[in-house]
Structure formats: structure tokens, C-alpha cells
Symmetry: D2
Subunit: 436 residues, 4 copies
Amino acid sequence: MSMAKHPPELNDLRMSEKARPLLDAVVKHITENVDPITEEYYRLGEGRADRWSHAPGQLELLQTAKDKARANGLWNFFLPNAETGEGLSNLDYAYIAAELGKNPLASETLNCSAPDTGNMEVLERVGTPEQKEKWLKPLLNGEIRSAYAMTEPNVASSDAKNISTSAVLEGDEWVINGEKFYISGAGDPRCKIMITMVKTSPEAETFKQQSQILVPIDAEGVKILGPMRVFGHDDAPHGHMHIKFDNVRVPKENILLGEGRGFEISQLRLGPGRIHHCMRSIGAADKALDMLIDRAISRKAFGKRIVDLGKNMETISRARIDIEAMRMMVLKAARAMDVLGNKEARIWVSAIKAMVPERAAQIIDQAMQVHGAAGLSQWFPLAEMYVGQRTLRFADGPDEVHHNVVARAEVKSYEDSNDRKSRVRTSTGGRMFEGP
Amino acid sequence: MSMAKHPPELNDLRMSEKARPLLDAVVKHITENVDPITEEYYRLGEGRADRWSHAPGQLELLQTAKDKARANGLWNFFLPNAETGEGLSNLDYAYIAAELGKNPLASETLNCSAPDTGNMEVLERVGTPEQKEKWLKPLLNGEIRSAYAMTEPNVASSDAKNISTSAVLEGDEWVINGEKFYISGAGDPRCKIMITMVKTSPEAETFKQQSQILVPIDAEGVKILGPMRVFGHDDAPHGHMHIKFDNVRVPKENILLGEGRGFEISQLRLGPGRIHHCMRSIGAADKALDMLIDRAISRKAFGKRIVDLGKNMETISRARIDIEAMRMMVLKAARAMDVLGNKEARIWVSAIKAMVPERAAQIIDQAMQVHGAAGLSQWFPLAEMYVGQRTLRFADGPDEVHHNVVARAEVKSYEDSNDRKSRVRTSTGGRMFEGP
Amino acid sequence: MSMAKHPPELNDLRMSEKARPLLDAVVKHITENVDPITEEYYRLGEGRADRWSHAPGQLELLQTAKDKARANGLWNFFLPNAETGEGLSNLDYAYIAAELGKNPLASETLNCSAPDTGNMEVLERVGTPEQKEKWLKPLLNGEIRSAYAMTEPNVASSDAKNISTSAVLEGDEWVINGEKFYISGAGDPRCKIMITMVKTSPEAETFKQQSQILVPIDAEGVKILGPMRVFGHDDAPHGHMHIKFDNVRVPKENILLGEGRGFEISQLRLGPGRIHHCMRSIGAADKALDMLIDRAISRKAFGKRIVDLGKNMETISRARIDIEAMRMMVLKAARAMDVLGNKEARIWVSAIKAMVPERAAQIIDQAMQVHGAAGLSQWFPLAEMYVGQRTLRFADGPDEVHHNVVARAEVKSYEDSNDRKSRVRTSTGGRMFEGP
Amino acid sequence: MSMAKHPPELNDLRMSEKARPLLDAVVKHITENVDPITEEYYRLGEGRADRWSHAPGQLELLQTAKDKARANGLWNFFLPNAETGEGLSNLDYAYIAAELGKNPLASETLNCSAPDTGNMEVLERVGTPEQKEKWLKPLLNGEIRSAYAMTEPNVASSDAKNISTSAVLEGDEWVINGEKFYISGAGDPRCKIMITMVKTSPEAETFKQQSQILVPIDAEGVKILGPMRVFGHDDAPHGHMHIKFDNVRVPKENILLGEGRGFEISQLRLGPGRIHHCMRSIGAADKALDMLIDRAISRKAFGKRIVDLGKNMETISRARIDIEAMRMMVLKAARAMDVLGNKEARIWVSAIKAMVPERAAQIIDQAMQVHGAAGLSQWFPLAEMYVGQRTLRFADGPDEVHHNVVARAEVKSYEDSNDRKSRVRTSTGGRMFEGP
């Protein structure tokens, strides 16, 4: 991490006094309003005729919880340091995200599901009054949902400069052609709008070629080719869709911020998304460790509890140590966003994005191993949790890209320092060493 | 490994001269008779009304390939060193298994699918003439299929002594009660018989309490509760079934070898199964490495081919080195079975069982990472392959049990040696060291 | 970690306002008073006739820096939350320890070298007035040094209950017999006193058998058999000595706190020692990473800077991420000692003791690899640094013992919780899972 | 590995019938003639006045064993497939190398120490009659010793093209200037000749710039600046020397094979050296595992033998499995040299060079951990063994270079194959997958 800027308050990772009542209210809301409807919500969905819509009753059930949240003032508080919403700091939000991660409906009842949060954040910061009226308002009201169309199947989109979906201005319209996949949420019938990364200026300098444009999902030429499955799961009706843009036309005004400013908007988007993801990953690892212990103390083999066999105790210790270390790092990254701003904090955010899902997946895998074959089956959520973490290692860029961000910052910080030689020449044993 | 017995020929890992024409014939058979029907076979199955049966035409298609195999003398050659079949050595069979692993229908067209091979081996060796007539004969003819009912949901069955399904002799019948799961192949409508591990003599000494009994799958009281899914997949119609035995009655004569000899039979069963599994795992790792390279040389990011980014070249090298090392170890374990016999060779077999699927899964995972998010999807077989290897880490006992077999043999070998102190006292630097 | 007790302030890891001037003063002292004498100090020592004493001039040089520290009020501030000294919190001390770790003479010039700090802490808390007068006073004045005699060569002393050196009361004297090794600091001619762990009551209940007794190093029967070397290094004149107690007699009053209270004293001793060790380990890892980068950007191979070859960038990123995660964990453990007390905090302390030196050693090893063969040589301090971290994995108990402390607390915390089932039964995907 | 060429006999890893009596004779020789003098040899050396020569009596003692070896026909048999010597195959030699690795004097008594073996091999194959008479003859007689001067301190010599020591032809002499380090064996007073890699044709195409020249160590201008130490050890009197070439002049005829053919000679040199190194590494890992077990079954902690605590059994199993896998790979690499020739086999040789020392070092490290702090000390050879393996990871090129050799061959093999798409398109589950 570029440590050049490290004011002391960066290490104050306490939740703020003012946010604690909110955290309590969220916990109460989940316990009283969300947990009780969760099982029924999924039961209703199970027999539904069309996987790609909700079953009768599902959305109504959800709405009751949403109404209660709104009535209690728990609505749209996700937008960090913003006028809209509670103006929560990223750090405070991280603590709340950990709670949201424990129930899969919780976020939506508070109108803070991905990718809507990121999309609303972008609209709120760079949208025109018209764009806000048309898209941000219904999103803030929880009336519609949205998607973010970035990744493409035909290029290595880990390098965003590769993005090749083109948008050409013809008269008053952008004409868009290309293919995107893994567009999460685009399967939901409530999804109405996609923020779409396109190449508008192939001749411009490298980081000015891309733009972001608002594309209504029902625009002519938007063809949903089908869902991407991960380890066989389609995550319907949310879905991770494969979409073709075939001469899609949208009004000129649908561009965000302006031509060639696509990368600039991506920086804004950093926002709470990755912090939220990583806090949920930690929640998953935590739960897997609980499950590992539960199984390991409940069964015996070779005359001993499984927990007392082989390396299992050390596995537990290493998992706990790493979970706590990851938690502190995620809190610190959130704090860095608050104290240093998104630009400086981006190294910390890449650090946790590269660190957390990989290790969380390992911990879940270890829990599966302790469960025996049953651990892979529908009797336990572990396989599903594993798939979630494995997938996260690609969301918002693969681990390798984030490691590269961290490493480049580290090398640059060293290159820029004035005391390079003194940093490497003296032994901790006190002697001067004279390499060639 | 207990190295006490290591005759020089243990390191002769060549396929025998006499088996090479057979290998060639198998390769030809797969290329000419199996590969061409494979796609259609699965296509036919895709729309079928009942997941738990075959679609019209599927079995007929398979039969054509089976007929050809039989006509060419490629039938039942799996039984190692046996009167029936070709009498292939385990080593020769290992080479063939590597080819069988490349097409999922290949084994069945040669009548050597798991778990039939193990079941036939057991029947051939310890079955009574009546048992052979009734079950072995149709199995050898490929007319029926079979299952092996061992694992139980309610105990840690990694410790086989925990097996608690009871069989009590009442008059001329065994009355069986209990629950089994992960009974592979029991979903296939052609499956007619299960070799079932039961506890017959709870008062006997530890390793004499269990027996193995032939249970027709259509016996009254056999209730198939449903399929176990692994990472969501049910592997229909083969299936890994969850079965309840509810006062199931079978004739007294259905016991194999005799009361209390269940563990003894398990030793026989070692046979080609684990060698076969591990050779297929190596095939999967090999294929994943090909796919990794294919993707890595086909796409560019940040101005370079992906293969030239970051640690990818080292990942390729480590994968190749480990694949070749695993291949030699599996061949050696097969050779050990031939030269030393199953009992002595069992340490080698545990070694490869603990070594191969774990590492194969890692290599597949690395291939997924290089593919980006697409690597997890239905566009590539990698996720499916990963699930296969992950599951194998439990089949025939979890890794931990096999590591324990190897370690106990190793410790015993050291304890039994006469030159213990000389083995540890001299430095390779020549000095004598005098620890306390 | 037992998370039952986790007050919000546990995550406030800022240095206190009041300690910051002290930190500044320490940094200034090291820069102005210690760094300038360091090279000469070691140069003086190099040619000395007797490795086990100081060369003429060495101690005088050190004394000048000690005098300055004392004059500036930087003396004996190590004792956490104590009357004596500055009463620094563990957290504040942790920040200072990171600075002390950068110069090998720094600690001693401030009178806070190991193992004196731990010994002074014990004497200050449980010593009688006579003991304090005789041993604590000269230690606080920096006039003598001390050792802590715990580890024994003939038993697995990772299990402290194994300690077998016996002390038998004969009249007014304890008669001590046994053998100890790795007694750090006992080679220094200024070392006058050893706090010695002995078995006084072999018949008592397990944790009441041991006592700690003050043994003057010049007592008759104390035989220093020689130095223990680590990777060939003897660390003279400090030394890690192998000592025989051959009918050593010390007055009855030399016992600390009373018979059978040896383990109780060990708990007190936790103090700043492990925090200090771990902060220095982090300093070493930090320095190794600087060196890695320095080398990797300075040399070329195959047409590229070494930093741009293979996995080196990812190695850098992973090192930086883990260093920052470890730093947060060490600060948190220090904070836990301040907020929760030593007893509750001991899980956190075991966590960092098991986590930090192992990973620090790996990072140093990676730096060596990037340096090529030169990295192992006398031209760079890396090999020496590696040995230091490798050794730390045994100091104050091997990693395995600390992992066991963490795991036992974790299992107990789970067993004690009231909501066990709810913690493991619901999927993060929202469904209820019904394992057997 | 390029698997294109894999004749069946590559998997016949048996020692040849004809070599077995030789192996027996070598074992007998070590037991009867070398082991009995080993302790005295090192004892004599310990008090010697000059670390960089032998003590009186040492060389005489060695000579008695050398005479016996020669009398028994055990002399110079190292040269694989050569006229001189026994013409041992590399595979047979590998088996013998494993025995040689058990006593540090054994190799020298049979005149097959590194780096003499490689140097003699080169001279035998490419030397002129005059060069052979002057240098090969006394080397084959064991009268002198030699060194190989390759690595340079001022460049990343992992890339041999970086070698910058220059040789310029002036009249009838080469004038050499530059610096080399880690020149093993150059400390021995018997060392008379160095094969030196120099740059003779900086303007030539990349792989024609280097040459190898014979430089007598007593030539004017050869300045031995001092020994390189590894982890503090200087390995005197053998030594790994730092040497300056300051206008060193040698006759024109001292060039080997001709100007610009330095890389060509390096290929020849592959010979038995790396096989030998790796077999010794396996011997070291084997010994470390014996020591681990010896300690783990001899001591108790927490009421159990250490071997029964935590992950120790799994550590033992993984070590044994990997040792056997590495052994098979080294034998296979040796066999590949015999069957395919050095050029084709070089991929296999790089594979074992990258695989074996790294893992051997880990196994030794695990043995140290089980020994507790004593494992790092002079009481056990483990630290010394660790340093040996750690150093080997640089000898003949760092791991990274060898991984790169393997990976490049692997990628090329895939690129060259005709059936690329069929290799990656079908699932092992039988379906065709249609990635974009």
C-alpha cells in the first residue's frame, strides 16, 4: 500500500457513535421483518412456472418488509458521504454490510442491493437532472432495478481497455453494437436500465476511448441470449445474462458525464461495492467455520471427535486468525475511503479484493472436507457458498488485476522514496552490508 | 511407503508387450465406435421426460458400441490377473484406464464401469456358484448394473467400523435396517443388485462385526429417498442415491463369504478401482492444462498474451511437473499391486488416492482462473471437472484416511528398522551429531 | 478468538495522543544517539579476543547512548500500565517497538531489551521488597542483565508441564538439579540473575507443581556447558546457553510468589514480550520487501527488469497485503491487552505469535530468491534475518502450541453459544438445509 | 514435458543388470573404506591453522580410500555412455548417486566430485589432445581439482546472456577482465584450473557471443577476493569463491571448441550433474523424514507422543508421497537422457531441478519444526541440510529459469499439435462446449 499517506486516524476502526443506533435498527429489522419471511419467500419461488420471473406472492412478501424498513427510516442509507440517504461513512457501512450478509433478502428490503447501489451512486453523482428524474428516482424508490453491462465474452475484459462494444453517434442517437455477458440482475423482470460501458472514440488516447451510456433493457436490439451458469447454477431470476446489442439505438442524452469519460466514472463506482462484497465474504467464511466446528464436535471416528483428529484444530486456528485479519483489513480499506478519498484508497480496496474471496473460498472448502461427502450436497449450503466466493474472484476484476494494482503502487512508492539505500543497506543485526 | 519390499522390477513401469495391441484396439474402438455416438447420446438424453431413466434410443445407441466391442474381444478385460477376461495386469490396465478416461461412455461400452467392475471382481472371487449364476453372469453380459452400498449419513463413515446399518438373521432371512447415502449408480433403472455393508455381529471383535450382503434393489423395504447432489448436480440417471432399508428381508444365502467377513472382502475390492480413478484424474488434469494453455495463448490483455502475464508460465510448469510425477506414482502403485500383491501395495494405493485428486482439482482451478468468469460457466467443462475431482477426495475414503494409512506404515517401518540410530545420527556434512 | 467480549473500542488502534511525543523522542534518540554509534560498536566487537565478552570500548560506547536516553526521560518506559516507567499502554508500546526493531542496539539504550523487560515486569509485580532491592533495582538502572531459564533439552518443553528440573527444599535452601538450554542472554558477562522454572511439588495437582526461583548465575553448581547455535550462529556474547544445574543451592527466599505458583507467574509474563517480537518481525518483513523491490528494479534478465518477470509482482502484492494485515492484528492484540486484560487477550496474542514469524520468514525467503545466490551470502542481511524469524517460531512456544490455544478458544466459544443451530442451518442463499 | 517423444522404454526405470554389481561394490566401498575414516577426517580438519587448506593427515587419509577404490575398479565410472570409465548409463548412475549422497567423502574417493565431473566430461568430449593431456589426465588421476567460473556478481546471471566478463584476443593470448562469484571448489589448494565462461564476441548474434576458456587458477591477475558465505557458512576449504580477473592472460589455445561456442558447451555439460544433485536432495529429504519420525516417536507432550499430535501424521504422509514421486521423476529424467539424448531430455532435467530442492527444503524444515528449537542447533544436522537445499535452488540456475524451460516446452508442444481444438472442446462429461 502506498504508505506515504497514513494519518493516525486511519487506524481508528470503530464504528461511529451516531451509526450504532442504525446498526441496531438494521439488526432488529432483519430479525423481526426479514428472517420471518425468508423461508416462505424461497418456498414460494421453488415451484414457479417461469424461472425468470417471480412466483405470485413473492414480491408482495418482500414489499411488506420494504415498507417496514422505509417506515423505520432504513432506506437508501448506503450512499456514502452523500446528501441523499443517511450519509453513512464507508466504515460504518462496512459494519452494517456484515449484518446484511447474513440474510440474502436483507439488502433488498433496505434498497441496497448490488448492482443498484453502484448504479444509484453513479447517477447521483454524475447524472443530469433528467437522468435522475427518469432513472434515479424510481431506483431510490425501489420501483425498478438495474444492471451494469461491462464484461464481454470475446475479449480479455480483465483489461478494461479491451472493451469493444461500439457506440457510434448517428444524428441524435447512439447506435450500439456488441456483446456482453455476466450481466448480473438483467434476468430480473423488474430490471429496466443498464449502465453500459462502450467504446465511443477508438482513435482517442487510451483512457479516453470509453464512455458509459444508459441503455433501457427493453430498447430494440437488446437481445438476451441466455443466462451464464456458474458451476451449473443460473441464479434465476436475478441471473447473469449474456446479451447481444444489435444496432441498439438510444438518445444522445443517455451518455453519462460525456464522451470518453467512461474510466472516470468507473473510479466513482468503486464506492461501497467491494467493501460490501468483502464483508459478506467474511461473513461466509465465519459461517463456514461455525459449520466446520459444529460438524467436527458432533461426530466421532477412530474413537475421537473429528475435531481432535489430524490437522483439524490447526485448520480452525488458521481460519479464525485469517478471518480476523481480513476483517481488520476490510475495515481499514473502508476507513481509507473515508479519510483519504477513493483515489488514494483504491490500493487498499484492491488489496482486500485480492485477499478476501480467495481465502474465504479455502475456508469453506476446508469446512466441506470436514463434513465428508455430505458437505458437497444439498444438505448443507457449503457448496453453494463455495461457488459464490469462487465467482467473486472474478467480479470487479480477477485477483491478478488487483494484485497488480497493489504491486505497482508498492514499487512506485519505493522508487519515489528518498531513503532507498538506507532502507536496504543496514542489517537488523547492525552491520552494514556491501552488496556489489 | 514401506520400502522394506522393493524388488528392482517394481520400477519397470512399461506396458507389457502383449497388452499393447489391446491398448491400440481400445483406442481404435473409442475413436471409431464411441466418439461418433457420444454427442448424440447426450443430446438424446437432454430433453427426456424422466431424468431418472434413459431417453428412447439412448440405450440402443450404446448397445451398438457394446456389440462391436464384444465382437472385437474387448469385453470384461478389466479383471486383473483373473481367469475371466483378459487377465490384464493392473499396470497394463492403468494405461488403458487413461484412455477410457477421455470419453465418458467408453468404459460402459467395454463393460468396465464403476462400480460394476468392483462388484464383479468381488463376486468372481468370493461368490457361491448360485450367486455367480444369478448376479455375476448378467453383469458380465452387461445386462444389468449394480451398486455398492457402504456410506451412511448418520455416522462418520470414514471410519468403516462406524457402519451401523444392521442385519439380523431371522429364520432363513437377513432383516436389514438402516440408511445409506451416496450410493452411486442406484438411480439407473438397470441397477438390480446392491452389495451392502451391514453390521451383523455387534458383539464380535472390532473387525469381525461387519458383513456384506447382496440386496436386490427391488426388495421390499428398499426406499430410495432421493438423489444426493454434488455442487447441485444429481448425475441422473446414474445418481448418488440416498436409500433407506426398512425391514428389508433377503435370503440367508445372500451373504458374501460369511458372517463377519465384511472387512476381508473390502480388501479384495481394492482392485483396479482406485488406479482407474486416479488415471482418470490425471487425464482430467492433463485436459485442464491443455485448456489453460489454449486460452492463455489465444487472448491478450495489457498488450501481452495472457500466457506471458504474471505467474502463468510458472503455473503451467508446476502443473506439468506434478502431472508427470502423479502419472509415475499411479503406474508404480499399479505395478506394486502386480508385483507385491494387494496387501503390500495398499500403502502405494493410499498414497496416490491422497495425492492425485487434490492436486488435479487445483490444476483445474488454475485453468478456470485463466479463463476468467467464462471458465466457471457452461461454456467450458472446467467447473464440472472440478466438481468431479473435488468429489473424488471423498470416494473410497477421504484424503485424511489415506494419509493416515501412509503415515502409519511409514512410522512402523521406521520403528521396525534395526539401524534407526545410524539413520539419523550422521550429518550429510560428515560430522557426528550428539543430540541429548 | 473468543469474540464474546468485543467492546467497540477494541477497534480503535490509534496511538494515544500523549504517547506520540514519546514516539517522536524515541525516533530522534535512535537517529541522533544510536545510529551513529552502531557501526563502530559492531566493528569494535569483531576482532575481540573472547567472543563471550565485550571488546574494550563497546560498553562505554553503549553507555553514552544510555546516558542520553536517561537524560531525555526515555528510560524504563516499557512496563505497561505500571507505576514504574511511563505507564505506556501495550498499544502505544507496539508502535514504539516497531521503531526499536530497526536498530539492534536501540532497545538496550532505553533499557528495554529482552529478556530483561519480562524479568523486570515479573519482579515489579510479584517480587518481595528484598528481591526488588537486590535484583529489580540494578536491572532498572541498567547495571546488570538477566535471563529466563525455562526450556529443557530432555523433554518436549512445548508442554510446560514436562519441565523436570527439580528444586527440593533442604533446610533454608532450595537445591536445584537439572538441565536447561536456549537460555538467551546468559552468555553476557553482565548477566547476574536467572528466573528459573523448576518443579517443586511433583505430587501436587498438575498446574501447581511448578515454581519460579531466582538463581544467581554465579551460584555454585551452575555450569554453562556451551552455547546453542542456530543455523551455526552463536549470537555471542548474548548467547543462547546450555546450562547444567548441579546441586545448585539458593536461599529459600529466592522463590517468587510462593511454591506451586510458577504457572501463575507465566501468565503475568505475557506482557509486552510477544507484541514486541511480532512488531519486530513485521519490521523485518517490511525491510525484506524493500530489499526485494530494490533488487528487482535494479537488474535485468531476458530483456526485462526482474520485477517484471514471472510471479514477482504478485509476490510483492501478497507480501504487502499480509504485512499490513499482520500489523493490524498485532496492534489489535496489543489493544486487547489494554482493554480486556492479559487473560482475555491471550488468545489474540497466541494468534499473532502463530501468524507473524511464519509469514515473515516466507517473505524474507522470497526476497532471497529474487536476489539470486547473493541473497544467501554475507553481502545481504537476508539469511541472518531469515534465521531470526525461523527461530522465533519456537520462542515462547512453537507455532503449534499457539494454534492450539486459538483453536481451543474457538471451539469452546462455539460450544458455549446458545444459538449454535441457527448459526449453521440457514444458507446464505436463504434456504433452510436439513442435514441428517 | 514435450511428450511427443515418449517411447515405451522411457518408463523402464530399473537399474541395469550389469550395473547392480557395481552398485553393490560402491556400497561395500563406502561401508568398509569411507565410513570408517569420515569422522577422523573431519576431526583432523577442525583445529587446522588455515581454514583454506587441509590439515596434516587429511589428504593422506583420503588417499587410502582413493587407492582402494582404484584397486577395486571403482574409479571414473561417472562419465555417462563414454569410452573412458565404466560407461554407466545416467539411470544407473542415478541409483549410485543416491548412495554417494549418504557420505560426504564418498564421491571424492571415487573421483566423481562436482564440479570435476562436469569439467572432465567437457574436456573429454571437446578438448584438444593437448588440453586433455594437460588437464584431463591429472583430473582423471585425481591429482588436481578444478572449478567452473560462470556466475557473476554484477549482472543477473540467471540469464546467461548477461555474462559480461570479457576476453579479448591480443596476439596469441586471450586477455580476460571481469568478476565471478560463487566459484565452488576454487578455495581448495588442489584446484588448478577453471573453465571460465567469457564474452568474446559482443557483436555476434545472441547465442554466439560467449566462449569457454581454460584459465589456470595461478595465472597472473586471478585474484581471489574472498569466500561467499551461505547462511554464514564458508564451506572451507572447498569454498565458493569471489574472484576478480584483472588482465589475466592465457594462451589462445586455451579456448574450448572455438570462439562463440560457449552455449553449445553448456548443453554438453548438463550431463550427470543435475541428476546427481537431485538424487542427493532426495537422500537428504529421506534422512530428514527419518529424523522427524525418530524425534516424534521419542518424546511426549500433552500426554501423547509428538507424532500423534496435530498435523504431524499428515506431514509424514505428504513427505513420503512427495519423496517417492520425486525419486521416480529423477529416475525418469536420467532415463530420458539415456533414451532421448541430452537435448530432448533437458526439459525433464529442468523439471526435476525446479521440483526437488524446493520440496526437499520444505521437508527438512518440517523436521526442524518437530525437533523444537534443538532442531535448528548444532545438535542436529538439519539446519546445515536446509542450507544445502536452499542453496541448490540457485545452483545451475534458479528455479524460475527451470520452470520457464518446462513451460515454454509445454506451450510449444501445444501450439505444434494438430488436434488442439479436439483436445479442449469435449467435456469429460461428454458434451461439446461452445465457448465464444
